[in-house]
Symmetry: C2
Subunit: 373 residues, 2 copies
């Protein structure tokens, strides 16, 4: 709808009614304001738990807050373009918006992969603090400007699980020749540990585990992994997800489309993303434990912690891998320096706050109990 | 501005111009939509770090997203009413909105105090998950309906510090006769441990510490406590804040005022609160460590961890205190049952996610380091 023609018809109808028009005869928000109809492509299957549903929630919130002035239709991966062409579709302006995870775009801009998660890095609360008070948002916008896009954090998985294994991981030697599907920075670390790292689309993982073509795979966490049925193809479920301790999901927006929005709509998109960012994390936090219980008690999954020797070994390799990758280009170095500085601060504070509280909560004492329903 | 008169003058001016009006001659959002001018009272000093600034941020976001249709002016504690009469002012409709912490209203509705934090309870991430996916929002609305108000979580301090002490706390026996300023549920626990619990307004705390009228006080965390200057009056700074592991701040809205908002403005208020909820936590997470370093290195504060024996003793007393308080009335029981059930789930998940990751991150290995600026 063109603003001018709407106004003209309004003024004319007012004149026709002799200067007196009942309020109810006007379609309220359309009177003098443009309506935007946008499309959002996603890297997730339509309504994939926590991730795809987060994208839907984002579109829904924006529609409600804007009273329909910014309407966004969400498409699952493959509906308009294949999942990993989502950024191309946004960059070219084919669609206005996308939803995914920053490490998918490392082939375009190396630094993007750090924006999702770094092995042995920061948890969700710390990543949020880095984005909002540690310069992360500004750096991410700089990275995404190279892809013609505006960036917003838009959901967080929290600490993921270490993955599904068909062999026990008792020492670093067990990584030697391990055939594992693990993408991104975690994959580089497993490779450095002697692993044989492969990448497979989701659908090919279960048969590859069953045939022994791979020994292990990482995925997300109990809530997703239960739905995906990985317990049918692997025996051991290891924790913690040292490789993705608080993975940031993203909303990326074609820069011209972003700049075409009025300031109120820009504010709505920004705050909707912050809201979704929290709601998605809350969903994982609330639902992972019930799913983990089902995996262990109904599906006989063996839950295992990585031994300290393995974790310390992987931690050292992670440091080497990230130093190497940060040296690839100046922008990667800038992002990594900022994250590493913030991580030092965040870790120190975590020790006297979150970690000390978790320790206190876990001591041996009799706490209050709910009454029987 | 009355809607009818605006529309009449618009239609008339359109007629006067012969049915052709330039778009720029219309004040865009005022055409057919009501503008709300609200007042928000707060329990915080104006722009108090993290808390008062969170309330300002909320008002600012809502103004931007609504393009000025919902304008909220924020008042510091005492500007319109004394801080602890904020709920009265909202309940009576003197003002439309307030910002504070739920435990301030325990004299009105006992159950409100649990909505802020429970000793040895849940951290910020877990409280958010309870509110959004554990039935917390619905229960809080039920509690606040008894005060004629709509409730939103609106900021979180994260894990607080245990407090400022002028004597060492080495065993539970040290609580015997301890004169401590500690309000709320934490105060009940210290009382149960034999402490002499007093309540003092903020301004009276430093002289009371200096004169020995009190031995100890809790406050918030390093970022606030440094600004407040408590290091001048106390020697030991204890952690963790077992009594407030993730304190929820609140935005409360007169129910009639809330119901008068259009659905788009209601959505804007809801999502602005979620955004502020995250931003305030990020601010504390980002800034506490630098403040703690200043306290220790520049002001010679002695940082101490509560011994496990003390924490376990307090944990057991906390359980007893909360069982008693939950038995006060059915609504308190309902809220506590819901929180205690969720806490069991959240604790189990935390052990294999956040806590296991923190453990892994803290092991002995060489991590990546930022380059020198």
């Amino acid at each position: 709808m063109q603003r001018r023609s709407v106004i003209r018809s309004l003024a004319t109808s007012g004149a026709a009614a002799g200067g007196l028009v009942a309020a109810s005869s006007f379609p309220k928000p359309a009177i003098a304001q443009q309506t935007y109809e946008w499309r959002m492509v996603t890297t997730w299957p339509k309504n994939f738990p926590g991730l795809g549903t987060g994208a839907e929630l984002l579109a829904q919130m924006i529609g409600q807050m804007s009273d329909g002035r910014l309407q966004i239709t969400v498409y699952g991966g493959g509906e308009i373009v294949p999942p990993f062409e989502s950024m191309d579709a946004v960059e070219s302006g084919t669609v206005e918006m996308g939803h995914g995870a920053p490490y998918y775009w490392k082939g375009k801009v190396n630094a993007s992969q750090f924006l999702a998660a770094i092995p042995f890095g920061m948890n969700a609360q710390e990543m949020n603090a880095w984005y909002q008070y540690g310069g992360g948002q500004e750096l991410a916008d700089k990275v995404y400007a190279e892809m013609g896009a505006k960036f917003f954090p838009s959901g967080n998985t929290g600490v993921q699980m270490g993955g599904w294994f068909n062999k026990e991981m008792n020492s670093m030697a067990d990584y030697d020749g391990l055939k594992m599907r693990i993408p991104g920075l975690g994959g580089e670390v497993v490779k450095a540990a002697g692993g044989n790292v492969v990448n497979l689309p989701g659908g090919e993982i279960p048969p590859a585990l069953q045939s022994g073509a791979i020994d292990a795979t990482e995925w997300v966490g109990p809530y997703n992994d239960l739905a995906f049925g990985l317990y049918k193809s692997a025996r051991y479920y290891y924790y913690p997800g040292w490789h993705e301790p608080g993975t940031v999901l993203e909303n990326f927006i074609n820069l011209d489309a972003w700049n075409s929005l009025t300031p109120d709509l820009q504010a709505i998109v920004e705050q909707a993303n912050r809201s979704v960012n929290q709601v998605v994390l809350s969903e994982f936090t609330a639902r992972n434990n019930d799913s983990l219980n089902k995996l262990v008690n109904e599906h006989n999954v063996e839950l295992r912690a990585f031994p300290d020797e393995v974790l310390a070994g992987l931690g050292g390799l992670a440091g080497e891998v990230m130093n190497d990758l940060a040296s690839t280009d100046p922008l990667s170095r800038e992002v990594m320096d900022s994250m590493l500085q913030f991580r030092q601060t965040a870790t120190a504070w975590s020790e006297v706050s979150e970690e000390a509280f978790s320790h206190a909560r876990g001591l041996d004492y009799q706490y209050a109990t709910p009454t029987q329903g």
